[in-house]
Symmetry: C2
Subunit: 338 residues, 2 copies
């Protein structure tokens, strides 16, 4: 049975009960008015709302069927929509309070796929640890290609946001979560290695691409520990690090030993595919790890690993990312140019 046979109202009636997990905190007062009117109302306890939007499009951001035979499930797409949006709020040091979801689908999309999407969205919110984040409303429409846009709002609960522009020379550069695993998973999905033959470790890499697990506790925790800068690594360590460096007017110098440690668990997959694990670490972003800077004498909070330090640009040199002082040239994913 496909969505073409249902009205928007009938389809919404199939979806909303499945989002109950995400709406469990309606009782906690986050969601003041839920779906069903022209707009929803969400609590903004400190008089500010943190807001972001992210879109995934089939055949651009994911394939419904990959080269290795894996079929992207509705659950995957829902989970990833939750993960990438929650990560943006986390990267401000904030707490997610609500999402609104727009789903565009071809008419022949199975209703079961949409229900699976709702389950994945709800599970992502719950399992990634965003108990206050309600699904406040949404929009369903038809289109030739499957696409999902999620806008998310969050609360800073009276605290200052942690921006990407605050890194200062002398700061410790640190990472929470992972980098490179989703890129390795993508390489497996695009490879000729059948999905059925993957080892448990390889399958976990694939899962990081399809169902990333951003470290949601790390954002507010970093804020409480005095982080000077914070950023979601969605486009790759070097590309996003370059943005933090530019915003901060600094150089982010990465320790080669830290890169080697990050690359080590990826080496078996890299060997299998004839790829370079270090390139995944430097260029892969979709793990949604968190890049942070902390004052030099700070004790890093749990979940963060030091990977380098923040430096002053040499006179006449520009900002950017260096590895043991040498410019890093590997670049991450960009939507329009390579």
């Amino acid at each position: 049975m496909t969505v073409g046979g249902l009205s928007e109202g009938e389809l919404l009636a199939r979806i909303f009960p499945r989002l109950h997990g995400g709406n469990a905190t309606r009782d906690a007062g986050t969601l003041l008015l839920g779906p069903g009117d022209d707009a929803a109302i969400v609590a903004a306890p400190d008089g500010r709302t943190v807001i972001s939007i992210d879109t995934q499009v089939a055949d651009q951001d994911f394939r419904l069927e990959w080269n290795n035979g894996y079929r992207t499930t509705g659950y995957d797409v829902g989970w990833k929509a939750a993960a990438q949006n929650l990560s943006d709020i986390n990267a401000m040091g904030a707490r997610a309070t609500a999402m609104v979801v727009s789903l565009t689908m071809p008419e022949d999309t199975a209703i079961a796929w949409v229900e699976d999407f709702a389950d994945g969205l709800s599970a992502g919110i719950r399992e990634l640890g965003a108990p206050d984040c309600a699904v406040a409303g949404g929009d369903l429409g038809r289109g030739r290609e499957l696409a999902v846009s999620v806008a998310i709002v969050g609360s800073l609960d009276g605290h200052a946001p942690v921006l990407r522009s605050g890194a200062r020379p002398g700061d410790i550069l640190a990472l929470a979560g992972t980098v490179g695993r989703a890129a390795a998973g993508l390489a497996l999905l695009e490879s000729d290695v059948p999905v059925e033959t993957l080892s448990p470790e390889q399958r976990e890499l694939l899962d990081t691409q399809c169902r990333p697990r951003p470290p949601l506790a790390a954002g507010p925790l970093a804020r409480r520990h005095g982080a000077t800068a914070l950023m979601d690594i969605s486009d790759g360590l070097v590309r996003d690090g370059t943005r933090m460096a530019a915003a901060s007017g600094a150089v982010l110098d990465v320790d080669p030993a830290a890169l080697t440690a990050l690359a080590a668990p990826l080496r078996p997959a890299a060997v299998l595919l004839g790829a370079d694990a270090l390139e995944w670490v430097l260029g892969g972003g979709e793990d949604h790890g968190l890049l942070a800077a902390f004052p030099a004498r700070a004790q890093l909070p749990a979940g963060f690993t030091a990977i380098g330090s923040v430096k002053d640009p040499a006179p006449k040199d520009s900002t950017g990312v260096t590895i043991a002082g040498k410019p890093a040239h590997t670049v991450g994913w960009d939507h329009f140019a390579d």
Copy 2:
């Protein structure tokens, strides 16, 4: 020159200066942190955020080239994105404070088209009368079909929202803005009547479809005048009225004389196309007029016209829309079923 030749950053650099109109109120304190970080920060002065999301997809919600030869401009799509989202906030009796915009484009989309989109979005916000609404951020991506999702947030400024569920028997049913004009414009766009041959009046109907003008002052004004229910007519007077009736547990009875008055200016176009002006009035929604209920003795605020009254459902009868007591069967647009 097409978007395929630019990075996301380069394209954003073309767009942001054009959104300055929409961001003019950054000085007024609405936008606390603008584009450029993981998320933006918007003021929510009364501790609540009203939020909604809407998506337009090419060849579903509009055609890039219509049957009558009209080509939808980037300006049209930007304006309509602003209008339909602003209308959702208006329909809660609230004031729009910020939008985040996700634009998905084929690689061969002209950069000029995207710049025109930004101009239309900005002009829509400014000219429709939402001076506090900033463009807080966004997301650009590639896709096979052009699509735009906008999420919008607004403030109730300490007041209670006006829901669609508050209409009470004895209330006056009233309309602000128009109904049926966008549907007439759509019929002209889909007709064989070349766009160049349209009279000024016909061209205005076409413009209502491509650049709707929701009555943005009417929402907060209705709230101040004690409106008991309020709703954006995006899917048609009968379809949306039926939703208000169901939410309110009431019958909305429309005065045939009011319908005749609404249909009168559409008759020349209806005659030209062999269509029924009354069907446009009953079923056409994209004008984004505002349907409201006011207490019986209320003086209607400027811009509202009485079109009927709210009644108790007869025993055993269901809620719904009636015309002089008879059930209205014409239905408006629905995304999945007819």
